[in-house]
Symmetry: D2
Subunit: 136 residues, 4 copies
């Protein structure tokens, strides 16, 4: 029997003072940093490095996203940030992502569409075939 | 005859090096900072200060948002960031927001739902009646 | 008679929620953003744009700095951030910078050495002669 | 014989796109985030949590710092950030901190003075005796 959870890529993220705001919680834009870290580590775990891509005029940019903030993370929290591919095209990836607290409670849910572009022109281009194969 | 554009609240935002990333464009999370500045200035223009709210145990938190990144802003750009109420409840506001370049081109479009909560409990509460009246 | 104050370049900076932390004050790294904005606007006021420099393989990087945090800025504060040249070389500028509150109180004082480098190699290079002349 | 290096507290920090700027390197203010993470983890390793302190009206604020940027960190780099106490008072700690690359090269060196204050008044106060004992 397949354990759905174990198929899910995730990283731990500690909440530092830099992430919080005067409301005492993580500033809403900063969850996007956490999610970008999880996507990057997922891609890195497949053997692809962002910087190497840039040298080849490849960049991955966020095309659009939807995010729901259900409960706030706070200073010193150790949260889990997931990154899974829900849809894959030749030039784009759609990620389902969650921020989960230490008790398994879902704090934030997002769907993020990332498009592969030529760094100089910003035009969409086909992704590295190694990446497509690894994600398929 | 009413000019729709003139009813639109907006602020100018200069893109600084702090806003950019190694791709040479504004980092995707940082547009949320620009949009939060525009919402705050809109509320301030109605005579409501965030800090004063916090002293009264009131906070405004983002509940959810959708955002589309159409074209990137770059270093030194002077963009316009708009904030308009598209829907108003007793405990929440929905903002339509845009980032617009110097030629009127739309770079980013977002819909942001902001909920008024009690700072300590995080539970929704009715907004300041001055704010509701000013926005109605 | 020369008024020392009037020779001082400064910009106003509003403190937004993005700038604050869970301690209720501006996060200590974020004053460096404010100061970089002031330096950039000072240079821009002399007719030099950072992005144009990058296209010519010129970048300005911070070499070293000293900073004293005397009093904190808080949410909604409107502070003044100054930028003055205290020393000028062919490849570097030393800035004296302050963050000042609405009553003239000094919140933060810094001395920041900025070096002109070739963007690709990171090696120091002589600054744009227009910039040297304007600052001399 | 004591190994000086082994007495040094450090954490690994991966450089993400959020940390970089349009110059292709880590934005100068962001090293202060890395250093604050290392200080926090050092304190946490001694059994002290920041959030717990805030509930007791205790906060640790940076009083002053000096920093030298010797070589830049870049996207995808995995750097080591150290935190050592060089001087300890009843109300303050002085940290010596470095950012070191994967070959042992020193990228950034800083001296950071952190003062323990009462969260509400901002006035210096004696640090938690457990912390003073652990650091002595």
């Amino acid at each position: 029997m397949t354990n759905q959870e174990s198929q899910c890529f995730s990283i731990p993220v500690r909440v530092y003072i830099e992430d919080t705001d005067a409301g005492g919680i993580v500033f809403y834009a900063n969850y996007l940093k956490f999610m970008e870290r999880a996507r990057t580590e997922y891609i890195r775990s497949l053997g692809i490095e962002l910087r190497a891509g840039m040298k080849q005029n490849i960049s991955y940019v966020v095309h659009s996203l939807e995010i729901k903030y259900q409960k706030p993370a706070k200073l010193d929290d150790l949260v889990t940030v997931t990154a899974n591919i829900s849809k894959l095209g030749k030039t784009y990836m759609v990620f389902e992502q969650r921020v989960i607290d230490e008790n398994g409670g879902v704090l934030v849910v997002a769907e993020v569409k990332v498009v592969c572009v030529a760094l100089e022109s910003g035009k969409p281009r086909v992704m590295d075939s190694r990446l497509i194969n690894a994600l398929s």
